[in-house]
Amino acid sequence: MTTQGGSVRRTISEPAPWLLRVDPILCRAHGLCAELVPEVIDLDEWGYAKIHGQVAPLVLAEARAAVAACPTLALRLVRGQRSR
């Protein structure tokens, strides 16, 4: 939103998104993550975690649960780049 006439100009930027990252060496294809947050994590044909997309705010709690539930702690929740 920008205002004319030389006063305050504000652009609303998206907050930095949350992202799930999987460490491919630690992932042992247990698959709990895909059960808990299928909106973000899929399993490939051999059972390993595949991240598709960002973590929407609505599923942030499930994403945290997935990070805690992974038997090998292969998942991390990180903040991505802020977009404008």
Binding site: L26, A29, H30, E35, P71, L73
Partner: protein, 190 residues
Amino acid sequence: MSHALWYASRATGLVCLLLLSASVVLGLLGAGRFSTASWPRFVLGALHRNVSLLIVVFLTVHISTAVIDPYAGIGWISAVVPFTSAYHPLWLGLGAVAFDLLLALIVTSLLRTRLSLRLWRAVHWTAYACWPAALVHGIGIGGTDRTQPWALALDVLAVGSVLVALGFRLLASHPDTAARGAAVGSSWRS
């Protein structure tokens, strides 16, 4: 009054043993990657966690009633430091060992995401010492309960379920484990 405390301690002790056995069974099932359509991995995992936490509740009652009850003369310290009580030092001591290990298991598991995986795993392996210690503590200190059929039945149930789960765990296999195991022996190290 004293009898009430004593019965409470016995009862909650047995419940603790059953809950601990259930926890071990669930842990073994998880390690063996067990799941069905109605019991997916994350449900069994959450059950393992919640059953383990529930033990703490019953264990608190079990220990408190035993200490408060003046009959055996057990001090608080003996619940934590093994083999320091005058009352059945060996059997009670094993209970203290099981309690200490359980505390370590629970605390490290609650802080799991903040600890190194290796530390958590090393502590979690002591579950294989915690459960037998609790079992032998119960049988040893049980006294007359050793001959009661219902007590024996519960013990058999506990031991039997853990052995079955252990068998499942040892026989379970997965391509990932097989592939990594095959790679370990090869030429990556000089």
